[in-house]
């Protein structure tokens, strides 16, 4: 009510500031984010603002008054009028992730108001955002029908999930089904026992099956999967709901997230894009596999990971992630690509072990560079400077990062927005139509999860271990629509007509 003087546009998200009893944050479709103190008045006149802080793609203002009034701060994020679709605080409360219609995820250090990282959708707006329970990853969903996984520590897009057939409206981690590995290389095999419901096994079986018909990413994933048993590691359970009326559940193993670029030989974006079960589509693409292996400083980052991965893994001799394998793969790639007539360029990194010839696109034509030195330079700063040098050498124009951010064609193939084939593509563990209307909410609870639908229904779905018992049996009979097909592991417990 009192906000009418402050912003007349639609409220898109509201949240209490973690650790505070009276501060809350409100985002609007106007692209503004306001901080309010519930104990303060808003004033009877429209606020006058003065600039407080600004950075790349955002500016923060305070009210220009003698006494403190609401709003305490006004954040303007992205271009003017660019709708903020959702925001989320990290579990520790110190970082704020904001997604907006301009297709950007922006992550701020909340207290210092510094932009610490960002990512760009493959296309279209980002609609929803959430943090992994351990704060290491931010997951966003958007109008590209994808679920995009961004590493907070590496400041890059590490994987994408493809399975929805329309815009992704909610993403949420399931903290109760996420298992945390201890990163012990000798944790062999036993991690499966720590994973609930054997879903993890299912994942591996699937990966193995696909790899038998495919030389593409799936075989790489297979190696990841088998490595997981060796090295252990966290397995995150993510859920997403979409306008396609479907729920997808994803198992995200940290090994996939740390998969290096150099191990990736996906045939093409089309290879596994159309259907979740695309192993057969990928087969037969082996000869063209290498075209799309990518370039840009993104490779650089990945190769560093590659190194990390190899060093942290005792059983890497037959693993595509090992540095040696990676080098030979890349070398043969170079030859192959050279034979195909792609222009070759040297890498211009300070330590290069080998350079790669790459298919480029548009402005950024071919290249790169590998760096598998021990240099674990995975910070944002490093990313930015590498991007500068890469784009500068490629185009001959000394553009700054800020201008890169303004131009989506310059973001493609970078840590902000990898090409589709240079980033692991995950398939959903489960994909299930839950309603006849688009789904609008997804909340995981200890014994169930809850979905909401545009038609006004809220469904509560029991977890597998919780579906026995008289309550469940009797109430499943009262479900409306056609939910009677037991949904893999999950059944509807009850539904409430709102």
């Amino acid at each position: 009510m009192f906000q009418r003087l402050i912003d007349k546009s639609k409220v898109t998200c509201i949240k209490w500031v973690p650790g505070s009893n009276n501060l809350f944050l409100v985002s609007h479709s106007s692209g503004q984010l306001y901080l309010y103190n519930e104990e303060l008045l808003c004033g009877t006149t429209a606020p006058h603002y003065q600039s407080f802080k600004s950075g790349d793609g955002y500016a923060i203002y305070t009210c220009k008054t003698k006494s403190t009034r609401n709003p305490l701060y006004r954040w303007v994020i992205g271009a003017e009028g660019c709708c903020i679709n959702e925001f989320a605080f990290s579990p520790c409360g110190s970082n704020l992730a904001v997604v907006s219609q301009d297709g950007f995820l922006r992550v701020f250090q909340y207290n210092t108001m510094e932009l610490v990282g960002s990512a760009r959708s493959y296309f279209g707006g980002f609609l929803c955002v959430c943090w992994s329970p351990d704060g290491r990853y931010v997951v966003v969903g958007g109008e590209d029908d994808l679920v995009t996984i961004w590493s907070f520590h590496e400041k890059r897009v590490v994987a994408r999930g493809q399975g929805h057939h329309s815009w992704v409206s909610v993403v949420a981690f399931d903290p109760y089904t996420t298992s945390y590995g201890d990163h012990d290389p000798d944790f062999s095999g036993s991690d499966d026992e720590t994973l609930p419901h054997n879903n993890h096994n299912h994942y591996h079986e699937k990966a193995n099956r696909l790899s038998t018909t495919s030389q593409g990413i799936h075989s790489n994933r297979n190696s990841c999967g088998s490595e997981l048993r060796v090295s252990g590691g966290t397995c995150y359970r993510l859920g997403s709901v979409s306008q396609d009326t479907q729920l997808c559940l994803w198992d995200i193993t940290e090994d996939v997230l740390r998969q290096p670029m150099c191990a990736k030989q996906r045939p093409s974006a089309a290879g596994s894009s159309t259907l979740p079960t695309s192993g057969t589509v990928n087969s037969g693409n082996g000869s063209t596999t290498n075209h799309h292996l990518n370039n840009s400083k993104h490779n650089n980052l990945n190769n560093i990971n590659c190194k990390e991965n190899a060093s942290g893994n005792n059983d890497s001799s037959n693993n595509s992630m090992s540095t040696n394998t990676a080098v030979s793969t890349v070398n043969s790639l170079t030859q192959r690509l050279a034979g195909l007539g792609f222009g070759e360029r040297k890498g211009d990194n300070h330590k290069r072990n080998f350079s790669l010839t790459m298919r480029g696109s548009g402005a950024s034509n071919s290249t790169i560079i590998q760096n598998s030195s021990g240099d674990k330079a995975t910070t944002n700063l490093n990313t930015s400077s590498n991007l500068n040098s890469v784009s500068g050498s490629l185009v001959g124009a000394n553009k700054k990062v800020s201008s890169v951010m303004d131009d989506p064609m310059r973001l493609i193939g970078t840590a902000w927005c990898p090409r589709f084939d240079e980033c692991p593509v995950l398939e959903p563990l489960v994909c299930k139509k839950l309603a006849h209307e688009r789904l609008t909410e997804l909340v995981f609870r200890e014994d169930c999860f809850v979905t909401a639908c545009q038609d006004g229904y809220v469904y509560t779905w029991a977890r597998p271990g919780h579906m026995v018992g008289p309550l469940t049996i009797s109430s499943t009979l009262h479900r409306p629509h056609h939910h009677s097909n037991p949904y893999t592991n999950i059944n509807s417990l009850r539904s409430n007509d709102l």
């Binding site: 815009w167 306008q243 093409s268 693409n285 989506p408 493609i412």
Partner: protein, 127 residues
Amino acid sequence: MRVKKLPMILALHLKRFKYVEQYNRHIKVSHRVVFPLELRLFNTSDDAVNPDRLYDLVAVVIHCGSGPNRGHYISIVKSHGFWLLFDDDMVDKIDASTIEDFYGLTSDIQKSSETGYILFYQSIDCN
């Protein structure tokens, strides 16, 4: 289907009519089909020259009406960063957020709808 050569202008025609044997005629399909303001293609062939080509939505032809054999066409066009709605001799500036009004209906009830029919996406590297 895979696209080998990505066009500068990508025109997408939504098939918003179908023959229903029960009625012995065509009916309009008003299903909700969301279309983003930006688009990349997933189904490009392995040897596509520019599979990452990014498209901007620049125009939509919209059919208004309940059936395939009657109604009215309007169009929205992006011009100099603004969206304009052309309805016969009337031209209005509209907000991009109102484009969702033309996605279609979510229920199967046959009623009048204003639905996107032909979408024009323009490659951003041809600007």
